[in-house]
């Protein structure tokens, strides 16, 4: 992983202080930038999260407020839980939709066209994610394309816009290319001889899939699920564009505290840290059980 370093040491043997100059020039500017514009701001929201309007002393009151119960409902925890459910549904959706597609790309597509087809599949990623979310409004709204089609078939129309279903459809659409890309990277490395061996030994296609294919690509499945899960958990755009009052997520709560009517930076900061901690937890699990090379590639 780490290519040579002795070369520089040789060249600068005459001036020891030069030995420090190079890493300083290479890593110093980036460290300053990340320190000032990433670490410092994140530390600041921690301090901010300890402040409560009208109170002098710092406390963890904002964190307790996340568990606030008004009239028998945990009003904030419900939203956090909903964000989690949306993320879980999106991850499952991407996995179910994405796996056969990645499998076809990696093992069954004509070799010559493989890269081009994969590129075409993930091409929508390169366009505005807001507009991709917006495009579903045209399809899902009551007078939209989907209901037009359903009416044509003589079926009753459904309304999925401003509801959980709409948000999840939009999120699966938004993150499916990531899932396919990561699963593809993993499936590409699949040892085909093992599949043949399983077949020769009389395993059915289903048995081969669950006992030979899936264990081999498990790291890819974990990495893809983690990426999609994390991204959809903190997603702001799809719940905002396709969701309604009953499908608000944690990102909406955060926005409300900073730019919306609520204006409570302390509580908003606490919610942001809950979000960051949740994501960090997933990453820890991933580093423990996942395949790092897949993450680096993705």
């Amino acid at each position: 992983m780490a290519p040579s370093q002795p070369s520089v040491a040789n060249a600068n043997a005459s001036a020891p202080w030069l030995k420090w100059l190079e890493p300083l020039v290479l890593l110093g500017p980036g460290a300053v930038w990340l320190g000032v514009f990433l670490i410092l701001p994140t530390s600041l929201i921690f301090i901010e999260s300890l402040k409560i309007p009208g109170q002098e002393a710092w406390s963890f009151g904002n964190y307790q407020r996340v568990f606030e119960n008004i009239g028998g409902t945990f009003i904030y925890l419900t939203v956090v839980w909903r964000s989690f459910l949306f993320a879980a549904a999106t991850t499952t959706g991407c996995l179910v939709l994405g796996f056969p597609v990645a499998y076809w790309f990696a093992l069954m597509a004509p070799k010559r066209w493989r890269n081009l087809l994969l590129l075409l599949f993930i091409l929508p990623l390169w366009t505005s994610s807001l507009l991709r979310s917006y495009s579903w409004i045209t399809i899902l709204r009551p007078t939209g394309v989907m209901n037009g089609f359903l009416n044509l078939l003589g079926l009753p129309g459904v309304n999925l816009l401003n509801k959980a279903e709409g948000v999840i459809i939009g999120m699966v659409y938004a993150f499916l290319p990531y899932m396919v890309l990561i699963l593809y990277t993993s499936l590409e490395k699949l040892d085909l001889r093992l599949l043949e061996a399983a077949e020769d030994l009389g395993a059915t296609a289903v048995q081969t899939f669950w006992r030979v294919t899936v264990p081999q690509v498990r790291p890819g499945i974990i990495a893809g699920s983690a990426l999609v899960g994390i991204t959809s958990f903190g997603d702001f755009i799809n719940p905002e564009v396709l969701g309604g009052p009953a499908s608000r997520t944690i990102s909406y709560l955060i926005e409300l505290q900073f730019l919306g009517a609520s204006r409570n930076w302390g509580f908003g900061s606490a919610l942001s840290l809950v979000l960051i901690l949740g994501v960090t937890g997933v990453i820890m699990l991933l580093l423990k059980y996942g395949d790092r090379s897949v993450i680096a590639d993705g």
């Binding site: 890493p23 290479l26 514009f37 997603d235 702001f236």
Partner: protein, 258 residues
């Protein structure tokens, strides 16, 4: 594996349909004569004309391009230096440094946006286009350093050593030997960062001042006010443009492969 067409093929075909259906619907309705997006009422260029005359959207596009180009230019230098520094030097805290450069890739945009907003508030820096640039450099340099690192891992370090042995100064060896080899990696990292910067809504939404509207922020305010057919036309143009950029990036990448 010469087997008959299997279900995975049809499944993939359906998945392609899912990926392109929304884009196709937008494209069709961008040529619709009426402003309704539920009924086809004849062909018309009027939404493209409207778009062409929309000063606000073009201003926002200009702002987005300014932000993306400035952020990517600065991040390209910082990100490349980080990648080279991390590959060459062993020091205590190296893994922490590497971990921190990954953070902007991992932490949700909204958390970064909020933290940056609080920070700018704390140092009393008025929000403007400049503050968006400062925030964008952070995630741009993260993506660029990741891409350049993976390119670095596949390089032959002996070439630079040879240059040094032959009397090149470290700076000359860096600029004339290492940098040309890294260029494809830097370019594709920059392209990725550029697209992400152009696409970023959340961070710009939180860190932009009055009058400093980027394209995604302008699009968002239009979506909020209801379905406007100019947006369909804009989507079609943007998809065409970014599709071309993606194909160029793929061309660079495939030429780059051994």
């Amino acid at each position: 594996m010469a087997k008959p067409v299997r279900w995975q093929f049809w499944y993939t075909l359906l998945a392609f349909l899912y990926m392109y259906l929304p884009i196709g619907v937008l494209a069709v309705f961008s040529f619709n004569a009426s402003s309704s997006s539920s009924q086809w009422e004849g062909f018309s260029w009027q939404w493209y004309e409207k778009l062409w005359q929309s000063e606000a959207l073009f201003g926002a596009l200009r702002n987005s391009l300014t932000v993306a180009m400035t952020a990517v230019a600065v991040a390209a230098v910082l990100g490349t230096l980080i990648a080279v520094g991390l590959a060459r030097h062993q020091f205590p805290g190296r893994n922490i440094y590497r971990g921190v450069t990954y953070l902007p890739v991992i932490i949700p945009d909204i958390a970064i946006a909020v933290a940056t907003l609080v920070f700018f508030g704390a140092i009393a820096l008025p929000l403007s286009l400049g503050t968006i640039v400062l925030a964008h450099i952070v995630f741009c340099l993260a993506y660029i350093s990741v891409v350049v690192s993976s390119r670095l891992a596949g390089l032959d370090p002996r070439l630079e050593e040879a240059a040094l042995d032959l009397g090149a100064t470290p700076v000359a060896a860096f600029l004339q030997v290492l940098l040309p080899q890294l260029l494809p990696g830097i370019l594709s990292g920059c392209l990725l960062a550029f697209v992400l910067s152009m696409d970023d809504f959340v961070i710009a939404y939180f860190t932009s001042g009055v009058g400093a509207t980027t394209l995604p922020v302008a699009i968002f305010s239009r979506i909020r006010t209801g379905v406007t057919p100019e947006l369909n036309a804009l989507s079609v143009l943007l998809i065409g443009l970014s599709g071309t950029i993606a194909l160029i990036a793929e061309f660079i990448r495939s030429r780059d492969r051994p």
